[in-house]
Symmetry: C2
Subunit: 293 residues, 2 copies
């Protein structure tokens, strides 16, 4: 397929470097400096400290978006609105695949004419620089249809799926995103606030307690089973125990976090008090405000 | 008077250096190294970076406690029990004055045969080393009787009070300590968790929100007026805006904090949920556990 990938962050680079084996990829980035770096060096994929491969792809600015067989959107929640403004240039039948955390982007998908899909990424990936991504943990990308079509999704999955970079299917996008959201709502703010790796949710008694409280609040609001949700949080924290969560990385690098799309989304789903989630939400915003100075 | 001061922390050193002008002071410390340092250098009082004076006092180990006209107890809550075991050696009529944060020590005072008093210290003081204390903010010490006698308290206050180091009187020890406790319950854990000076409670919107929530919970439990309590918190945070709170200093220096005597005490006063206080409490314990490693 001819595939567009929007966003040169860790997931955009990871996706591009794997899909480039079988498909013709155009990576759309926001910054001219990153475009130049990729044109100069190609994209480098590391696994740990070992170089896995180099992928030659064409790199364009997002303003130069063109018609593709399908387009992956790999920017963070806060940049979604800006990206969507460029979709006027492409065919209304082009399938769009959104890989954001949180659920704040669903409202945009429902308004777009295009068949739209969402995906959850369970890979561990860290962007080392503008053209190098480190694939730290093997996972998969699970896709589900929101306003798209099951047949189209199955056909895309067949073409995308690869032993080295698997794609999976989920029937219910809402359950898929909620299950990811609750894991992010627990692990991300706590690891960012306490500046600890994901595994500290399990090894530190008091973080364990706070994680449980946040998980219970989120499960009640999202109408998920508390016990199953908590088991998923613990499993994820165990598998990714050495990882730096994306929110922690954002704070360390003084980038805006996705707290609004994660804890903020949960808080806005209800009129009830969610004090542990609220504390975590304000804590991350307090740290962002502190780092501005 | 012949005065015993137990504890060579910032308050013990501050008290000793001022009271030594008019009284005969014996400072009781726990560590032999500190005793040696004070014997060698005397106690140095700074105001900012300016040297104010040097006070020559006799220094003893706590195991050598002897009869005095009155004894100030300036150790932290967790060390109170150990100090009290030494009071068997002194006359049961000797007045004892306790200057701890929190209210966890009241149960010990009520069991002691001695007339006992509590005090609240509003000075800003920082211990620079084993024999040097920096008097950063002029305040006062307010005393109140718990199992003592008003006449004895008035007489002591007359002898202790000094323009350069004022002492005040409060009728109700319970109200005195509660008003101090609520300020500590708000400012200490938040400034320690976010590693910020006290004034951030006012300047950072999100810390301001969290402070208000903790203040409301604590006021409800301690049966204090929420509005008045909040005003006192804001006033204290303003006056001490540049200060490092004691809990923040304890975490920085990897010392145990007084979280149990402050937030822990409030949580144990009720069966109701105090989620913001609970989050702050577990957050400080999580940081203590993290720093142990």
């Amino acid at each position: 397929m001819e595939i567009g990938v929007i966003g040169g962050g860790s997931i955009g680079l990871l996706l591009t470097s794997y899909l480039a084996d079988k498909h013709k990829i155009t990576l759309y980035v926001n910054r001219k400096a990153q475009q130049k770096q990729i044109e100069l060096n190609a994209i480098r994929l590391l696994k740990g400290s070992v170089k896995e491969k180099t992928a030659e792809v064409s790199t364009r600015r997002i303003t130069e978006l063109q018609q593709k067989d399908c387009i992956f959107v790999c920017v963070k929640q806060p940049e979604i609105e800006q990206v969507i403004s460029h979709f006027a240039k492409i065919n209304k039948a082009t399938p769009l695949i959104f890989l954001q955390n949180g659920m704040g982007h669903i409202k945009y998908l429902e308004e777009l004419p295009n068949p739209s899909y969402v995906g959850v990424v369970s890979h561990g990936a860290h962007r080392e620089n503008d053209y190098t991504v480190n694939h730290l943990g093997q996972g998969e990308i699970t896709l589900s249809s929101v306003t798209g079509d099951e047949k189209q999704l199955r056909s895309m999955l067949n073409q995308l799926n690869d032993n080295h970079f698997p794609f999976a299917h989920a029937n219910n996008w809402n359950v898929l995103l909620k299950n990811k959201l609750i894991i992010n709502a627990v692990i991300n703010p706590l690891t960012a606030l306490f500046d600890v790796p994901n595994g500290s949710i399990i090894t530190n008694n008091h973080l364990h307690f706070l994680a449980k409280m946040i998980c219970n609040e989120a499960a009640a609001v999202l109408q998920l089973d508390q016990k199953i949700a908590w088991e998923k949080v613990l499993t994820t924290a165990t598998i990714t125990r050495e990882n730096i969560s994306s929110m922690r990385a954002d704070l360390i690098h003084k980038r805006p976090t996705e707290i609004e799309a994660i804890s903020g989304y949960i808080l806005h789903q209800t009129n009830e008090e969610l004090p542990y989630t609220s504390f975590a939400y304000h804590a991350i915003l307090a740290l962002e405000q502190k780092k501005e100075k």
